[in-house]
Assembly symmetry: C2
Homo-oligomer: 245 residues x 2
């Protein structure tokens, strides 16, 4: 029996999603709780990894169980995982469902606050960025970035060559959503390379600030060279908002 | 020279606003930073105390300085206070300004989330309350509570008799603001007794849940007896939003 889990987490205290030798990870904490509830080692497969300090409101993972889960399965998992992790739902899915390969669209949101002093509530969830920005310059650059492209210029190279990963992705849209204390950048695509959203955000901030002209977005994309693009925006502003199947 | 400070804080790690023998307090942390910047012991006077785990987006305090503050006074204080405290502004005010006595209106907001599983981001800032609630029942009770009344029934007694505090306050409005994952209760008044907002929230939740009929709000208020009112809602859902002068 296959199950789809929708998971929210505050990434602040974790070394990211994926199990790794050093540091607590979200996947590891959920698998530890699964072991306590099911009495055996079980693996979950996530839709994608998120880095240390990156948050999620709708990360998705799948899980295969040989026997039906106990009643209150979700409640037990939520009781056993740290407060920073919430299993929002668990539902049975078809055998051909795969958290990563079945995903049709992912929405990542990058939050920026630009008030002179950042509220303490935003410090772990929004980049505090007080340089004046022109949304018009940023909007000029966006059409160069959306569509189906080889996004190697915005991907961490070491990951790119792992598992022969395909660097061609389709970015459906980038929207700027202003709010009273700043703005959010919404990225919708069929998939994202490692650090791609943070690298695109870093570029858009430099463009908005006037450091790089909007037309450079096209040249950098076409170069397929990570060294051409500005540095990545910091992780804590990023949230994996939702995944559509 | 008198200064008005507007202060935001995440109340989670603090034992409340007011300096006390046990536990870190917000007032104490700001006074420690003031000592480091000004080289002498200085006291700030807050508009009101907030309890342990209660938050603020616009707490106000005043401060008297004998000499003009150094340049970057605000920046220095923000660098020296814990991350959970942000001094949003510091501005000179007239000698007759008093953070508490000059306040005309305070707005407190009590946040409630009612989704089956609470997002980790909300856990320290919203009450997770999943009982079905009728806003109509709550709205029926509100007219009994607003206006100028002796609010002793909603005040912690031990505080009430300190300093001969007047239990008569004017509650201008209570509004219910629904949002996708729950709702917020907005309390506007000329002042609030100790635990008054949390006690009113506890009553409104019991009324919305159908445990107490809306008309009981009037009887409880007129009784002036704290024992007649239900228990206070927990502190972490409460935020002192703003104070008008």
């Amino acid at each position: 029996m296959k199950f789809k889990l929708v998971i929210a987490y505050d990434g602040t205290p974790f070394a990211g999603w994926q199990v790794q030798p050093n540091g607590r990870t979200i996947q590891e904490e959920i698998e530890k709780a699964l072991f306590q509830v099911m009495g055996k080692e079980l693996k979950i497969v996530g839709a994608g990894r998120t880095d240390a300090k990156v948050h999620a409101r709708g990360q998705v993972a799948h899980l295969i169980l040989e026997a039906p889960p106990p009643p209150s399965f979700q409640k037990s998992l939520n009781a056993l995982t740290p407060n920073e992790i919430s299993i929002l739902s668990i539902e049975p899915v078809n055998e051909d469902f795969h958290a990563r390969f079945s995903a049709k669209e992912k929405l990542y949101v990058y939050h920026v606050t630009s008030d002179p002093v950042q509220l303490p509530f935003d410090q772990n969830y929004s980049l505090h960025y007080t340089y004046p920005l022109s949304f018009n310059l940023m909007k000029e650059a966006i059409p160069h970035l959306i569509g189906k492209h080889d996004f190697s210029a915005f991907a961490n190279q070491s990951f790119l060559f792992e598992e022969g990963k395909n660097p061609v992705k389709t970015l459906f849209a980038i929207d700027i959503a202003p709010h009273p204390s700043g703005f959010s950048l919404l990225f919708r695509g069929d998939g994202f390379l490692y650090k791609m959203v943070r690298n695109l955000t870093g570029l858009l901030l430099d463009i908005g600030r006037g450091k790089i002209p909007p037309s450079e977005a096209k040249r950098i994309l076409l170069s397929k060279d990570r060294k051409q693009a500005p540095s990545a925006a910091p992780p804590h502003g990023l949230t994996l908002h939702s995944i559509s199947y």
